[in-house]
């Protein structure tokens, strides 16, 4: 065996890998974990966290950079069947019935060694998620590189780093279908263009339902998709069983499959876009939250951050679930509501599940990642609105029951970890993009309701080109905030999952 010094024996991360990550700018525990993969295996960080902190210390990092990654339950692998026991449901947490003592797990550590902020830029983008970074990249590609991206925490701290990695063309509205066809095409070229692997696997999405009323709308959506060139098709029960032999199909009334849909690994998208943008002169600042906005004579003129003021001609609000808070700073009220959605991941298994399975009408989805883990989520109709990133027992129990029902073979499969992120929900399920009537110089780019990640490659391109070259595009024209006030709301997007 080659001589190596291992830091994480679960994922084969060496000391050299950790040092390389630090050299590439991943200088806090959460970032090193994500970039190297350490701590994501069966021991969930028990063996490697302290060693990583020691290496960071040797490189001169301390304080908040050494805070270990968020401790999430379960602390030991637990079979889904054990969690699915019984019928009682734990109450929503946190709530009055189930108050929280632990603090919310969003952390905004003050990392040191950050490059000084410029005092002026042509464009400031608030939010270093995939939407903001993709846009910054395309702005720079189109000649505008005097851009500053401000991320409040580490890259991948928000929804961009918490999603299940699904990408699909199957939608209920023409806007989304067309956007996603282009976005998947861009995803296919991403590794080559940005020089970093995103592990795209087009294994398809299998949408199923046990509800007749949903089956009817699935048929309508199918017709729309086919008209727009998506090769989605209805599946007979026997075809479903052949495609996913472990699937419980006896109570299902409809199934639609599109082989072009697939899954990716989210984190490298952000590193790729950030690096691509930086190479072209964009300033990407992490650990730099925006505290207030400078508004003069009916225009946003800049932002005030924890590390200084930046004046700008245009401020883009790409802060996802935090967009309403950012908009308030400019005196703008958004109709967006953040809503927690939880995910769990299981132990790693040899590949057996081809498509991502999603049960419409229930809000269940799960797929097998490239590393072999089953990753999935389940929406909760009783989930209250609000920014909430803590994990709950209720989700774990509901999810285990749903998974074990839909795929009984998963009963013995063990859960390693659960986490949560926020969907940025709008009243009509469509994003909010473009300038607002209330104040000038303030461009909205949010409201993607849990599917912003998959759309960012194409949305970033369209918005970047629009802002740089003035190209018109229905995406920017038809999704303005003003539509709610003027009553020009388009058909609601109903194929929201998770």
């Amino acid at each position: 065996m080659t001589n190596r010094e291992l830091v994480c024996t679960c994922e084969d991360v060496t000391r050299r890998d950790v040092e390389r990550a630090i050299a590439r700018g991943h200088t806090d525990m959460e970032s090193v974990k994500r970039y190297t993969g350490l701590g994501t295996g069966i021991c969930q960080g028990r063996s490697c966290m302290a060693r990583t902190a020691q290496i960071l210390t040797e490189r001169g990092y301390d304080g908040d950079a050494l805070v270990p990654t968020t401790a999430r339950p379960p602390l030991w692998p637990v079979p889904l069947a054990a969690l699915a026991a019984g019928k009682d449901l734990p109450p929503t947490y946190p709530s009055d019935a189930s108050p929280a003592w632990t603090s919310p797990t969003t952390r905004r550590p003050q990392a040191k060694g950050l490059a000084p902020l410029p005092s002026r830029a042509q464009i400031v983008i608030v939010g270093g998620g995939i939407m903001g970074l993709a846009t910054a990249y395309h702005l720079a590609k189109n000649g505008i590189s005097d851009v500053v991206v401000l991320e409040a925490s580490y890259l991948n701290a928000g929804a961009s780093g918490r999603n299940g990695g699904g990408i699909r063309e199957q939608w209920a509205t023409e806007q989304h279908v067309l956007l996603m066809r282009e976005s998947i095409a861009l995803c296919r070229e991403f590794a080559k263009e940005l020089g970093i692997n995103v592990w795209l696997r087009q294994g398809g999405y299998l949408f199923v339902t046990a509800k007749q009323e949903v089956a009817a709308s699935m048929g309508d959506n199918l017709a729309l998709q086919n008209r727009l060139g998506v090769p989605s098709r209805l599946l007979k029960r026997s075809e479903m069983q052949h495609m996913v032999p472990e699937l419980e199909t006896s109570d299902l009334v409809a199934a639609v499959y599109n082989p072009e849909d697939g899954v990716i690994f989210p984190w490298p998208f952000l590193w790729g876009y950030a690096e691509g943008a930086r190479k072209r002169g964009v300033h990407v600042a992490t650990f730099t939250p925006v505290q207030s906005m400078i508004v003069e004579a009916g225009r946003v003129r800049g932002v005030e951050t924890t590390r200084g003021t930046i004046r700008a001609d245009l401020v883009i609000n790409a802060a996802g679930a935090w967009s309403p808070a950012i908009a308030r700073m400019a005196g703008v009220t958004l109709p967006n509501r953040p809503e927690r959605h939880e995910i769990l991941v299981t132990e790693s298994l040899r590949p057996f599940l081809g498509p991502l399975v999603s049960e419409l009408g229930l809000g269940l989805y799960f797929s097998q990642s490239l590393r072999g883990e089953i990753v999935g989520g389940l929406g909760d109709p009783d989930e209250p609105m609000g920014i909430e990133l803590r994990s709950s027992q209720r989700f774990l129990v509901r999810m285990a029951r749903a998974m074990v029902h839909r795929m009984p073979r998963l009963g013995g499969v063990k859960v390693l970890r659960q986490w949560a992120g926020c969907y940025d929900v709008t009243p009509d399920g469509h994003p909010i993009i473009g300038e607002v009537d209330e104040v000038g110089g303030f461009f909205q780019l949010h409201g993607f309701v849990g599917h912003g990640f998959m759309m960012a490659p194409v949305v970033g391109k369209i918005v970047g080109e629009h802002l740089a070259k003035g190209t018109d595009h229905p995406l920017v024209r038809d999704n303005r905030l003003g539509r709610f006030a003027h009553g020009h709301v388009t058909a609601k997007e109903t194929m929201i999952i998770g």
Partner: protein
């Protein structure tokens, strides 16, 4: 070749051995032996292969912390062989190998990438090649196979136990805390992950977390038990980090505590070992390492080298120095030191680090765990008597950063503190 202690005259007759299967071959086992120790007795240290480089993997810590000893046991994937006790005809299979654990055809990957494989930039130059690479990666990935048997959800509701105090961990500190609480007539649940508890503990119950800031969920024999306690004493102990040298993942490198456990079960870790300690060892670990050296010698194990332990009479060589590498063909066979040309041959390396708190559970329950650079460990914040900033949550023993020598006294203090807190909660003492 078996590494078992000879029967000592005067002891009770040993119970009849039975057999387990590993990769289809039969191996004799004794009751109470974890699978990993059974195979250690037969010189089998390589149980599976690692995720990326297909390096050998086997037992190291013996307590379920490190996750290196995964195997498929009785049709269940990704089971820690150090925690699963051998039983007659137990089926143990290696995972993530093509061939066998010892001779995995894919281990060439380790040779092919001497400078490491940066998966981020692998094959990104061409979209077609990238697609092929991703497809290949998927085929190679994944550790376990789906479990053989279908496991149905238990139709019965999860049992909820409401108690005044819960003590998690029935080691030295946990039992002291439990005794203090019981003596004060406080309704206390004691739980321990070990299956053969010789205490009033709920045996084989592993805590999986504090859910919803209220429910302690325990996993026992595949079922969840929900515990609601007003006070909780965490006595889950400490971990033994691996050394920081090259080859620190080689099978045949085991921790002091695993070695102690093996010897107690009558199993030698090897014929000739290196007993190595970290530099600046604390007194408790040093004492324990010396005691281990004696036990090893008594068991007929040759100690080729004793490192950083001062004078160890039974060792052939005693040196002070820094481990620079553990080497060998697929397992630990040789030890190399900084500033020393000589290498030391052995068939196992026993590593004696200062234990560090298993802090994840403390963090999950809301405690801060600042990093102590001197100890190289995260130390959960607590007072001298185990009181934490979370009302009703106490730390006892090694989880608080104290040594195993201090664990008993610390556990007693924590039990007393928890008792006092509960008394005050219910409106004054009695």
């Amino acid at each position: 070749m078996q590494h078992r202690k000879l029967d000592v005259p005067g002891f009770f007759a040993e119970p009849p051995p039975f057999e387990i299967l590993f990769e289809g071959k039969r191996f004799s086992a004794r009751p109470g032996e974890p699978v990993g120790v059974t195979l250690m007795a037969h010189g089998r240290y390589v149980l599976g292969r690692s995720s990326k480089y297909h390096r050998g993997r086997g037992v190291y810590c013996g307590r379920g912390h490190c996750g290196r000893c995964l195997a498929r046991i009785d049709g269940q994937p990704n089971v820690r062989a150090c925690c699963e006790v051998s039983h007659p005809d137990a089926q143990v299979e290696s995972q993530h190998v093509v061939g066998s654990a010892k001779h995995d055809l894919l281990s060439t990957i380790d040779w092919m990438f001497p400078r490491g494989l940066d998966h981020h930039s692998l094959m990104t130059e061409s979209t077609t090649l990238n697609r092929v690479t991703v497809a290949a990666a998927r085929k190679l990935a994944g550790h376990g196979e789906l479990p053989a048997a279908k496991l149905d959800a238990d139709p019965r509701e999860v049992a909820t136990r409401v108690v005044d105090a819960a003590v998690i961990g029935a080691g030295r500190a946990g039992r002291e805390a439990y005794d203090a609480l019981s003596a004060a007539n406080i309704d206390t649940l004691l739980a321990d992950s070990a299956a053969d508890a010789t205490s009033p503990a709920l045996a084989g119950a592993r805590v999986i977390g504090l859910y919803d800031d209220r429910d302690l969920l325990l996993l026992k024999e595949g079922h969840i038990i929900r515990v609601q306690a007003r006070a909780c004493v965490l006595a889950t102990g400490a971990m033994e980090p691996a050394p920081t040298c090259e080859g620190n993942d080689l099978p045949g490198l085991i921790s002091r505590r695993l070695c102690e456990q093996a010897l107690r079960l009558g199993v030698r870790p090897g014929r000739r070992i290196t007993l190595a300690a970290q530099r600046d060892l604390d007194l408790a670990t040093r004492t324990a390492a010396h005691a281990l050296a004696s036990a090893l010698a008594e068991a007929g194990v040759e100690i080729e080298l004793a490192l950083n332990l001062g004078n160890v009479p039974s060792a052939r060589r005693c040196l002070d120095g820094q481990l620079s590498a553990i080497e060998g063909r697929g397992r630990a066979q040789r030890v190399r030191l900084d500033d020393e040309d000589e290498t030391f041959e052995c068939d196992a390396v026993v590593w004696c680090p200062r234990p560090v708190p298993d802090h994840g559970i403390a963090r999950q329950m809301g405690l801060a765990t600042p990093f102590d650079t001197t100890r190289g460990a995260f130390l959960p914040e607590c007072e001298r008597d185990g009181t934490t900033r979370r009302p009703g949550l106490f730390l006892a023993g090694e989880i608080a950063g104290v040594s195993e020598n201090e664990a008993v006294a610390h556990g007693r203090r924590a039990g007393i503190a928890a008792t006092a807190w509960l008394r005050e909660l219910s409106g004054g003492g009695r």
